[in-house]
């Protein structure tokens, strides 16, 4: 299994679905990142919303916001993410999803990033912070 953009997110983008934009940075609407235990969550192309993966989140249940997100020339970028004092299961992947004011059954799953994209995975939380540092050129480009 390699890192993926969720097919139903791509479908949502192409169909101009609501709550798919990644360049909003307020506390409610915007991209968030979660630490995922793949012992609990298995990727499926049929997964569309965060509710499918929420039970596998390690650390804060709703992840951490990616602040100052930008979308320029097809490149999605944002600020580095810090998860504070993480405990729990081992983490094998990161999921980026699009948060909004509704329930997590409406939060689009955007991408799942695994060890082919992220150096340091899998990681076993030790109670300390987990810091995610993105590539200097951006998180990914369409």
């Amino acid at each position: 299994m390699a890192s993926v953009l969720y097919p139903l997110y791509k479908e949502g983008l192409l169909g101009a679905a609501a709550n798919t934009s990644l360049n909003q940075g307020d506390a409610t609407n915007g991209p968030f990142c979660s630490l995922i235990d793949q012992g609990t969550y298995t990727y499926s192309a049929a997964h569309q919303f965060y509710s499918s993966a929420a039970a596998a989140a390690v650390g804060p249940a709703n992840g951490v916001q990616i602040t100052t997100p930008t979308v320029v020339a097809g490149t999605f970028d944002g600020g580095d993410v810090t998860f504070v004092a993480v405990t729990g299961n081992s983490i094998e992947a990161l999921i980026i999803y699009r948060h909004n004011a509704g329930a997590n059954t409406t939060w689009y799953l955007v991408s799942m990033l695994e060890s082919d994209f992220i150096t340091g995975l899998p990681v076993q939380p030790n109670g300390g912070d987990i810091l995610i540092t993105w590539h200097s050129s951006g998180i990914w480009t369409l």
Binding site: G120, V123, N126, D129, L131, I132, T133, H135, W140, T141
Partner: protein
């Protein structure tokens, strides 16, 4: 000091209480002072519990083997001391694999 082979005294709780008391008393002393004092206590205990040199030697070997196992438990498979305190771990977008490509 009572003989350490006394079955009424040879139990984990007593050992833990004694260890705790000795640890509290040791506070403020150097590592070498604590090691020397501890060794002297062990030597005295073994000598008082053993009537022959052979018994003393066997008891000593057993204690050393057991204590080395306890000591090694504090280190991981790479030889580094196991982490006790939380520390920050960093996950980084892999520049070699990334190349600004999208996840497939």
């Amino acid at each position: 000091m009572d003989a350490v082979s006394d079955p009424l005294l040879n139990n984990t709780d007593n050992a833990r209480r004694l260890f705790k008391a000795f640890s509290e008393i040791s506070h403020g002393f150097s590592t070498l002072d604590v090691v020397n004092a501890s060794l002297n206590m062990v030597v005295n205990a073994v000598r008082q519990a053993s009537t022959t040199q052979r018994n003393a030697s066997e008891m000593w070997d057993e204690l050393i083997a057991r204590s080395k196992g306890l000591l090694m438990d504090g280190y991981d498979s790479t030889g580094r001391k196991k982490g006790i305190f939380p520390f920050t771990q960093t996950l980084t977008a892999n520049p070699a694999m990334f190349k600004m490509k999208k996840p497939d």
